[in-house]
Structure formats: structure tokens, C-alpha cells
């Protein structure tokens, strides 16, 4: 598949989970394909990074559901900050661990998972739709403990980016952390997996141990080969974060004209190949890749 083939299977109004974490191994070529499409009114569910920032800045997002939205080396995603301060998006902000349980509940097809996270904090104030549940089992004192019920995130689609995959959709991460990409795949009705390189199944163990094969094809509906598909976020061991490019992206949040130019030239580049060509054509001055 191509990125545009994936987007052709998505619809406005969908709830879409996006893998990766902050500015790490984000499926950016798929995010840019959404950016240049007619899709709108999306609910984006993610440990957010520039995926959330870009889609918010383009007005594609109705609601963001997140444990945080960060660029790592820039602690708060500046386009997301604009969206929040101008109140242009609805939002569901959860404790980072509570967010994990929403994914897990969806993956396990149960309505919720209980947790103490959120009790006493304003997580419950900010999300009045959240309910608590009493334990059916008494504790040592005979009390039935009250817990927060984190509802399952029902995802219409999930987008993840792996280092390697085979054509059938068996995905492999080669970096230090899978994050929650396996859970996004399991939580979604349809999962689209981009990867740095498609390899024959018999070569899946060439670069990593069996422990790196964490997304089996039964949870994957389409594979896109996208070398440097996570750019400008990091995708170790294939490449690190393009910090200079990220700084340039972040700076556009303060300058609508700069954002218009950046959006047109990079975000809405007609294809992933053309995007990479434009990235590579940047002057060497200030480049760090």
C-alpha cells in the first residue's frame, strides 16, 4: 500500500490511534497523508507528539485524547499549546498510566479497566464523563474500594511505524522501546503499519531477536514501506531525531506566515518521496541529521 491508499480507507469523524511516543517513532508519512487529505473531524488517541500538533494546526482534529503531547527536547508541543489556549479542540487529558489502561481495555474488549490514578486529582473534574466503580470485593477493613473506571478506547483505525515488517504485516521494532504500538494495533478495528523496510519473512530474525517481533499480522490490515517514515521524530537504530528540523517546525507555531510556508512546502508535500527530497534539499546550514 501507499500512504494515500491507507487514507482512502479512513473517513471523517473516525477515532484514530497513533503509535509512537512524543517525538519518537511516529508514523509521520501517514500523518502527512491525512494532512493533505479531505479528512476532518477526527478524534486522535495517542501519547502525542508532532502528529497531534500538525493535525491540530490543520484543523483536522475535533478531539485529542492523550496522556501528554510533547516533542521531548521541547517539553510542550507548541502547535498543540496553541490549540489548547485558543480552545480550538475538544480534549480528553488523562494520567499517563490511565491512558495505557484505556488502550488495554480496548485490546481486551472489556468496557473498562479500574485504577486509582485520577482519584483526588482534577483528572475527574476535567473529564466529567469518567465514572468510578466500587470493587465487588471488600478490603481488609470491609470497605468496597472506589476506583476510576477508564473506558476502552474504541479505535476505528490505528497507525504505527515499525523498523521492519514483512509484506503480510508482521511488525518488528529494533529500538529500545516498543511503547504501546502493539496495544494500538490490538485496540483498533483496522491497523495500518508503516515501516522503514519491508523484508522477506525469512529475514525477520536477521537484525533482531524473536523478542522484537511484537506485532503479528493478525492485528495488521495494511503495510506501507516508508523509509525515514518517522522523520523528523526519532526511529532508532535507523536514525535519530532531526532536532534542527524539529526546531524549525516548533518555531512556526509563533508565526502564522512561517507555518503557512512550512505547511505548504513540507506537511502537504504531494508524496513521501517528494517530502524527503525537500528535506534533503534544505541548506546544510543548521542541519543535524
Amino acid at each position: 500500500m501507499t500512504e494515500d491508499d491507507v487514507v482512502a480507507q479512513l473517513e471523517s469523524g473516525m477515532t484514530i490511534g497513533i503509535g509512537g511516543w512524543g517525538s519518537r517513532r511516529k508514523p509521520m508519512s501517514l500523518v502527512r497523508a491525512i494532512a493533505r487529505s479531505n479528512l476532518e473531524d477526527l478524534t486522535i488517541v495517542t501519547y502525542g507528539g508532532p502528529d497531534v500538533g500538525v493535525l491540530c494546526a490543520l484543523g483536522k482534529v475535533r478531539r485529542a485524547v492523550y496522556g501528554f503531547v510533547s516533542l521531548d527536547s521541547i517539553p510542550l508541543e507548541p502547535h498543540f499549546r496553541n490549540a489548547r489556549q485558543q480552545a480550538t479542540i475538544e480534549f480528553t487529558e488523562l494520567d499517563e498510566g490511565a491512558f495505557y489502561l484505556g488502550l488495554l481495555a480496548a485490546a481486551h474488549r472489556v468496557p473498562f479497566y479500574p485504577t486509582r490514578a485520577g482519584l483526588g486529582s482534577d483528572m475527574l473534574t476535567m473529564n466529567p464523563e469518567l465514572r468510578t466503580v466500587a470493587s465487588p470485593y471488600p478490603d481488609e477493613g470491609g470497605d468496597h474500594e472506589e476506583l476510576v473506571a477508564i473506558p476502552a478506547f474504541r479505535l476505528d483505525a490505528a497507525l504505527v511505524h515499525m523498523n521492519r515488517a514483512d509484506a503480510a504485516g508482521n511488525g518488528q521494532f529494533l529500538g529500545p522501546d516498543l511503547y504501546f504500538d502493539d496495544l494500538f494495533a490490538k485496540a483498533a478495528s483496522r491497523t495500518y503499519l508503516s515501516c522503514e523496510k519491508v523484508v522477506p519473512t525469512e529475514n525477520l530474525l536477521d537484525e533482531g531477536t524473536v523478542h522484537t517481533l511484537k506485532i503479528p499480522r493478525i492485528f495488521v490490515d495494511g503495510v506501507v514501506e516508508a523509509p525515514r517514515g518517522a522523520h523528523f521524530t526519532e526511529c532508532p537504530p535507523d536514525y535519530g531525531r532531526d532536532e534542527a528540523f524539529q526546531r524549525e517546525y516548533a518555531a512556526t507555531a509563533r508565526d502564522p506566515e512561517a507555518w503557512e510556508a512550512f505547511r505548504e512546502y513540507y506537511v502537504e508535500a504531494p508524496s513521501h518521496d517528494e517530502y524527503l527530497a525537500r528535506v534533503d534539499a534544505r541548506s546544510d546550514e543548521g542541519r543535524e541529521s
Partner: protein, 253 residues
């Protein structure tokens, strides 16, 4: 050896918050807290485990802010596994606080109305879950009436008043061990569980701390001075843990 600097006093004060913790995950966030945590483990709390801030537990004392430093790996600790540790209770975190009140309520999330904030900050992050599961210490490098406030705009990490009506499991797990600022050290070790001044840093007066605090601080008859680093602690901070002086950035020097 050159004179002791305020950043070194603060690092030691944070290290002291871990005294007695034993074999838990020492999980400080931010440069000065990380220096404090690594210092505690390198001296009086050797059983604690610590991450490399990426994805492993490293048994050796790593220099702060050096992603390429050689690690003595003792376990894999990807991000997801941190929550197993959080929910187990075997963790003590040091977090920042953009605002904090007399009962220990912390705001990292937003300034103003969270529906349309004047300033969106980091968000709730992991604070709600941290506070109801394990010990927490706060680090506030800019002590003023803007950070030590009568009421926080958003409660990310709940304080003692917010957990008082919750389950025994929550109350037993909730502990705000210390608050360390650039002016002094604070705790909640009184019957009312209100923030009290434990010690002032060198060259800081009690009056100065009281004036810089936007709520009534509990101040006992005997407020000590925060202890100074030992020669060995200074050597570890300056030569091993932060040889490039990254800690200075938070202190405007």
C-alpha cells in the same frame, strides 16, 4: 575546593529526601533532581535502582544529560513497565510544580481555566497516578508567591486534603515526602498535614521564605539550616554526576 554553590545545596537536599528508601525505583525528573537521586544512590542509598532516563535500569552512576554514557545495564525498563512499578508502590518520584499549595496540591497542567488556559503547561502527565501510589518529592527552583500559592489552578498531583476522604489503600500509599525549593526544605510532618519549613538554605532567612510564600507556612521554633554537602558529595557532583555543570542552568548562572 571552590565554595559550595546553591545548586549543590539543593542537590544534596533532594538526595536527603531518598534517605531510608532502600530497594525501590528512585525516579527523579529534571536535571537537579536527577543529580540528587544519583548522589543518594552513590552514597547512602546504594540499594535503589535508577533508569538511564531512556529504557534501562543502569547500575552505575551515570553523568547527567549524557545519552552516550556507558551503562551497566541491570534490567530493561521500557516506558510501559514504569507503570507496573508505579502501581506496585515501589517508587519515589521527584517532580516539578508550577504551582503548589499549603496542602501539597501540585499543578503541572495549566494556568488559568483549564477549559481555555491562559498558559497550557505540561499537562497532568503521570502526577495523578504517582501521588496515590507512592512517595513524591517536589522540586521548585523558583520559590515565589507565584509558585507557592493559596490555591492551584489545576490539581495534577493531589495533596493531603484531596486524599483525606479516599480509600485506605490510597491514603496509605500517598506521601509527599519533601518539597525542596531554591530557598529551603519543607515537609508535611504535622497533625494538620500542612506545609512546614524544615530548613533554610545558607544565606536565606526565615522571613525571606515566609515573604516568598503565598500561603501561611507552618514555621516551628527551631528552623535549621539545610546541611552542606560533604567533600565527597561535592566531588561526586562536580566530577562524576555533573561534570559539565548542567545544574547551573536552573539557577540563572
Amino acid at each position: 575546593m571552590s565554595p559550595v554553590a546553591i545548586d549543590e545545596v539543593c542537590a544534596v537536599a533532594i538526595a536527603e529526601a531518598f534517605r531510608g528508601d532502600g530497594e525501590i525505583l528512585c525516579n527523579p525528573i529534571g536535571t537537579t533532581p536527577i543529580i540528587g537521586g544519583r548522589l543518594a544512590r552513590a552514597t547512602f542509598e546504594p540499594d535503589m535502582v535508577m533508569t538511564d532516563t531512556i529504557s534501562v535500569l543502569a547500575a552505575n552512576t551515570l553523568p547527567v544529560g549524557d545519552p552516550d554514557a556507558e551503562r551497566l545495564v541491570e534490567a530493561w525498563m521500557p516506558y510501559r513497565d514504569i507503570f507496573d512499578v508505579v502501581w506496585s508502590g515501589r517508587r519515589h518520584i521527584v517532580m516539578g510544580a508550577s504551582q503548589i499549595d499549603a496542602r501539597g496540591n501540585q499543578n503541572l497542567a495549566a494556568i488559568g481555566d483549564w477549559r481555555k488556559p491562559k498558559a497550557q503547561l505540561l499537562g497532568l502527565r503521570g502526577a495523578p497516578g504517582n501521588l496515590v501510589n507512592h512517595a513524591t518529592t517536589y522540586w521548585v527552583p523558583n520559590h515565589s508567591t507565584r509558585t507557592f500559592v493559596p490555591e492551584v489552578d489545576v490539581v495534577s498531583g493531589p495533596g493531603y486534603d484531596r486524599v483525606a476522604g479516599l480509600s485506605a489503600a490510597v491514603r496509605d500509599s500517598h506521601e509527599i515526602r519533601r518539597v525542596v525549593s531554591n530557598l529551603g526544605v519543607f515537609d508535611f510532618a504535622n497533625d494538620e498535614k500542612r506545609m512546614q519549613l524544615v530548613s533554610v538554605h545558607p544565606d536565606v532567612t526565615v522571613d525571606h521564605v515566609v515573604e516568598a510564600t503565598g500561603f501561611e507556612l507552618v514555621v516551628g521554633d527551631e528552623v535549621g539550616q539545610t546541611r552542606l554537602p560533604t567533600d565527597e558529595e561535592l566531588r561526586l557532583i562536580r566530577e562524576v554526576i555533573d561534570p559539565h555543570g548542567l545544574r547551573k542552568a536552573e539557577f540563572g548562572s
